[in-house]
Amino acid sequence: MIRLISERIKLLSNNETFKLFLTYKRGIIGLLLLSLMVFLALTADFIAPKKFDEVDPSSRLLPPSIKYLFGTDHLGRDVFSRVIYGARIALWVGLLVVLVEAGIGVPLGLLAGFYGGRVDKFISAITDLIWAFPPIVLALAIVTILGPGLTNVVVAVAVVSWAPYTRVVRAKTLSIISREFIIAARAIGESSFSIMLRYILPNTLPPIIVLATLTIPSAILYTTALSFLGFGAQPPTPDWGLMLSEGRDYIFKAPWCCVFPGLFITLTALSFNLLGDALREVLDPKLRYG
C-alpha cells in the first residue's frame, strides 16, 4: 500500500502540470487549507469533543476556554464541535451545488457548441435569460416556492448559476469542433453522441475543473447567506450560516458564537479561491471567470 502511494507520488512529481502547480505558493497553501477542512469533515465524529446537538443549559454562552475552545452558544452547545461538524455540511453543499450546475450546464454547452445553428441560438437565449437574474434574488424567489431547507437552497443556488458552465463548454467545443481528430471521428462513422462524450468532453475538462474550483466558494457563500437569512438549513443543523444567524442575537454578549463560524466560512472559501487561481494558471491560462 505504502509502496503504491510512493510510486504514485513519484509519478505525479514527474508530471509537468503538477511541477508547474508546485511553483504556485498560493495554490499549495490553498490545497493545505482545503485538506485541513476535508480532514475535519471526515473525522468530525472522532475529534469533536461533543456532539453538535448536545445541549447543556448549565453552560450557556461561556467564553472560549480550555474546555470549550470556541466557547458555547445560547443553548450551551460547544461551538468548536459545531464548527467542525459544519465543515461536513459546507463541503458537501459546495460539491453538490457544483455537481448540479455542471449537470445542467455541461450538456447544454456541448449541444450548443456541437450542433450550432438553431440549437445554439435557443440554448444561448436560455443561458442569457438565466444570467439576467441576480443570483441571490432569483434563489430567494425559488426558495419562496420550494420552502426553506438546505436541499432546496442547494437546488435554488445551482439553478441560478449554471450559466458559466454552458458558456465555457460551448466556447471550448467551438474551438475544437473543426480539429482533425473530430473530423476523423466523424469520418469513421462515430455517432454524434459518442463524439461529444468521448472526444469533446475530455477536452473541456480542464476549464470545467477550474470553473468548479472557483464556483464552489461562491456556492458556499450563497448557501450560508441564505441559511443566515433563515431560508436554508434548519436547527439544530451545525450549518455555519445558521450558526451565524442564531449567534447574531447574542453578538454583543457572546461574539464567539459568530466569530468562529464566519472565520471557517472564510477559510473554506479562501482555500478554494487560492487553489482555483493556481489551477487556472496551470490548466487554462486563457480562461477568465468573474
Binding site: R26, S124, A125, D128, L129, A132, F133, P134, P135, I136, V137, L138, L140, A141, I142, V143, T144, I145, R167, V168, A171, P217, L221, T224, A225, F228, L229, G230, F231, L244, R248, I251, F252, P255, C258, V259, P261, G262, I265, T266, L267, A269, L270, N273, L274, D277, L287, R288, Y289, G290
Partner: protein, 314 residues
C-alpha cells in the same frame, strides 16, 4: 457596423430577455401554493358566488396565457398589484424603500471603486514587490469573506465597542457607512484585481513604450495613456456589478435593519406576501438587464474594437 446600429442591436436584444423574465416570474407566482382569491380576501368570509365574481373580475377564470397578458398589461401601466399584508400598492411600497437601497449601493460602489482602482494601479506599478504580494493576497481573502459576517464584525467593533456608528436602523447617512463597507469589500477586491491585470497588460503595449520614448512625463504616460485604456473593462464591470450588489443588499439590509428594498423583500418572503416578492424581483431583474445593456453600450463607445468583434466570448 456603426455605433448606432450596434447600440440599437444591443437594446433590441434586451427586450426579449425582459419578456422572458416576465414569463418566468409570472409562472413562479402562478405555481405558488395558495388560491390568489383566498389570499386577497385574507380569511374574510364571503359567499361562493362572491368568490366566483371576484375570480371573473380578476380574470382568474381565463387560461394561463390570457392571465399572463392581463398581468403584463397591468405591469406596463405601472400596476404591480396590492400587498396582501398591508393592502397598499406594491409600486408605492417599493418607491418608498428604493431611495435607501440606492443610497446604500451608491456609497458602496463609490467605496469599492476608489479603493479598488487605487490599489489596482499601485500593485500594477509595483508589480512583484512586497506591497503587491500583500495587497494581491489580501484581495483573495477579501472576496472569500462573507459580507454578512464582515458586517457583523464591523457592527461589533465600530458600533458596539467604539460606538462610532449606530448599531442598526436608519438614523441618517452615517447609518450607511458600515453596511456600505460590508457590501464593498468583495467588489473592491474584484475591481482591484481587474484594474491590476488590465494595467499590467496595457503597460506592456507598444504605444506605452512609444509614449515613454517620446519623453512624456510619467504622470502623462500613466494617467492619460495607460489608465484610460486599462479602465475600460473596469467601467464595464461597474454595470455588471450592480445586480450582484442588489443581491448582497438583501442580506446586508436585513442584517443592519435598513428600511430598503432588500429588507422589504426579506420580510415579504417571511410573511408570504407574494405580490411584493414578485414586484421586487421583477424590478431588480429589469434593472439587471438594463445595466447589462448599458454596460455593452458604454464599452462600445469607449472601445471601438469591440463593435467589430463577432460572436460572443466567454
Amino acid at each position: 457596423m456603426g455605433l448606432l446600429t450596434y447600440i440599437t442591436k444591443k437594446l433590441l436584444i434586451g427586450i426579449p430577455v425582459i419578456f422572458g423574465v416576465t414569463i418566468i416570474l409570472f409562472y413562479i407566482m402562478y405555481i405558488l401554493p395558495g388560491d390568489p382569491i383566498q389570499l386577497l380576501l385574507s380569511g374574510e368570509r364571503v359567499t361562493p358566488e362572491r368568490v366566483e365574481e371576484l375570480r371573473r373580475a380578476w380574470g382568474l377564470d381565463q387560461p394561463v396565457y390570457v392571465q399572463y397578458f392581463y398581468w403584463l398589461s397591468r405591469i406596463i401601466r405601472g400596476d404591480l398589484g396590492i400587498s396582501i399584508v398591508t393592502k397598499q400598492p406594491v409600486s408605492l411600497l417599493i418607491l418608498q424603500r428604493l431611495p435607501y437601497t440606492l443610497a446604500l449601493m451608491l456609497t458602496s460602489i463609490l467605496l469599492s471603486y476608489v479603493i479598488g482602482v487605487l490599489t489596482g494601479i499601485i500593485t500594477a506599478l509595483k508589480r512583484g514587490s512586497l506591497l503587491d504580494s500583500i495587497l494581491s493576497t489580501s484581495s483573495i481573502i477579501c472576496y472569500s469573506i462573507p459580507g454578512f459576517w464582515f458586517g457583523l464584525i464591523l457592527m461589533l467593533i465600530f458600533a458596539y465597542y467604539l460606538r462610532l456608528f449606530p448599531v442598526s436602523g436608519y438614523e441618517g447617512w452615517h447609518s450607511l457607512i458600515l453596511p456600505a463597507l460590508s457590501l464593498a469589500l468583495p467588489s473592491s477586491a474584484y475591481v482591484m484585481r481587474l484594474t491590476r491585470a488590465e494595467m499590467i497588460e496595457v503597460l506592456g503595449e507598444d504605444y506605452i513604450r512609444t509614449a515613454w520614448a517620446k519623453g512624456l512625463s510619467k504622470r502623462r504616460v500613466l494617467l492619460v495613456h495607460a489608465l484610460r485604456n486599462a479602465i475600460i473593462p473596469v467601467v464595464t464591470m461597474f454595470f455588471l456589478d450592480l445586480p450582484w450588489l442588489m443581491g448582497g443588499a438583501v442580506v446586508i439590509e436585513t442584517l443592519f435593519a435598513l428600511p430598503g428594498m432588500g429588507r422589504l423583500l426579506y420580510v415579504s418572503i417571511l410573511k408570504q406576501d407574494y405580490p411584493v416578492v414578485q414586484g421586487i424581483v421583477l424590478i431588480i431583474t429589469i434593472l439587471t438587464v438594463v445595466c447589462n445593456t448599458l454596460g455593452d453600450v458604454v464599452i462600445a463607445i469607449l472601445d471601438p474594437r469591440i463593435r467589430f468583434e463577432r460572436g460572443r466570448s466567454v
